[in-house]
Symmetry: C2
């Protein structure tokens, strides 16, 4: 098994206008919290809150492209949204192997996303299968 | 509180080529399992396996657009991938309110996605906050 407990990974993601617009075009989630500045402000946010599931797209990239092997598939993914993400935020992503289960070829990661103020905006875990 | 335990929701999603291509353009996850037909077949799949996080995009649409109120935000999301989803699959999405926590304005949904063979391809839970 190529992974061992404690292995660490770091990535950077930018929640650009291109990604925000592209996500809306793709999935049609135009909820006012995401699209109506005044609605978001009236409800106590600094501005339009970015879709949490954009972060799940970043996780797709992390698992599919940033690991040392390609023969992987996600089995389970859990994410808690702790603080809002805003347009143009730059996020630091940290992941660590929190469990290796050789008998079932499964690896678990704990992860978190932090914003530029080093506030955790989201955290969770991912379980992947490593095949062959 | 507008939600009550047992409330049910049904949606239909089509994993079209447009969504598949758009997701790759957006998030750059070109892992061979998703993009290389022969690699996927060699590893025991019927063809390229669609990104699980496309289903999380569908969940964004469900929460943002299909509920009877708009003043909602996702707090937690968990998804288990049980069976592969292929290009052009049509998925039935079922969600049910599994918990209402009035004191913290939180609602929990259990959900599953089934393919045309009525096989569960993914299931999980979503917790949302209902504000104001």
């Amino acid at each position: 098994m190529i992974f061992k407990e404690g292995d660490k990974f770091i990535e950077k993601f930018h929640l650009s206008e291109k990604i925000y617009d592209g996500f809306i075009t793709l999935f049609k989630d135009r909820n006012p919290l995401h699209t109506d500045e005044q609605f978001a402000i009236d409800n106590g946010f600094k501005g339009r809150v970015m879709h949490g599931n954009i972060l799940n797209g970043f996780i797709s990239f992390f698992i599919g492209e940033c690991l040392p092997v390609k023969n992987v598939i996600i089995h389970l993914q859990e994410i808690q949204f702790k603080n809002p993400v805003y347009l143009d935020d730059r996020l630091d992503f940290f992941a660590e192997v929190s469990g290796v289960f050789e008998s079932v070829n499964t690896v678990e990661f704990k992860f978190n996303f932090k914003n530029i103020e080093t506030k955790t905006v989201a955290k969770g875990k991912i379980q992947i299968g490593v095949f062959k």
